[in-house]
Symmetry: C2
Subunit: 121 residues, 2 copies
């Protein structure tokens, strides 16, 4: 009736592609995802969804139009809905994302990095 333990390190180790979040758990309408990041992502915002970044490994820069925020392992940042941001990873970053199931990774833009259907991992 209930689920199996999820070993975070194993899930992250199984991620092969950068900027392509994979779902590890569904909590009602919220998805918990893992992702690996490297390089600069695109400026975007999410119209209706808050997004929580949780760095597991590496150092992540989250740029806002008016400031930069750096996150290291064990540090989290809530990006409120509507706020433009850009994740930048100068080194590979291993990340957990907590956000509504409706969240599109590229937010209000659609390009080659957009992932419409996220697989579980």
């Amino acid at each position: 009736v209930s689920s199996e333990p999820i070993v975070l390190r194993d899930k992250l180790a199984a991620v092969r592609e950068h900027w392509s979040p994979r779902i590890i758990a569904e909590v009602n309408d919220t998805h918990v995802k893992v992702a690996k990041l490297l390089g600069e992502f695109d400026w975007h915002h999410h119209e209706a969804e808050d997004e929580l970044f949780w760095v597991v490994d590496g150092r992540l820069l989250i740029q806002f139009r008016d400031r930069d925020v750096w996150l290291g392992p064990g540090e989290l940042l809530l990006v409120p809905r509507g706020v433009e941001h850009r994740p930048v990873a100068h080194e590979e970053v291993q990340l957990v994302l907590i956000e509504p199931a409706t969240t599109l990774n590229t937010g209000n833009i659609v390009n080659e990095r957009t992932r419409h259907e996220l697989d579980r991992i």
Copy 2:
């Protein structure tokens, strides 16, 4: 316009009371909480809410009516809505919980451990 970094270790260090979750982030209708556990909790279930346990420190036993699941640091368990469970911490466990804002810590029962209003930390 946006929030400050959340340092997980600092949030957990600030928790004084066992079995009393505190909110560290709100992601739309979902709360991310920290808690410290020690001892046996009460058997309960959540009628409408899935609950994700994420162990940060210590070893946590989650009992179900038909089996036991042990979680160590970096291991997560999704307890689906409606499923009876009981967390047991033989040693102090430091934990993150991800669950809908409507989730009551003691689920379908109300006793001296029930926390109706959770403070942010």
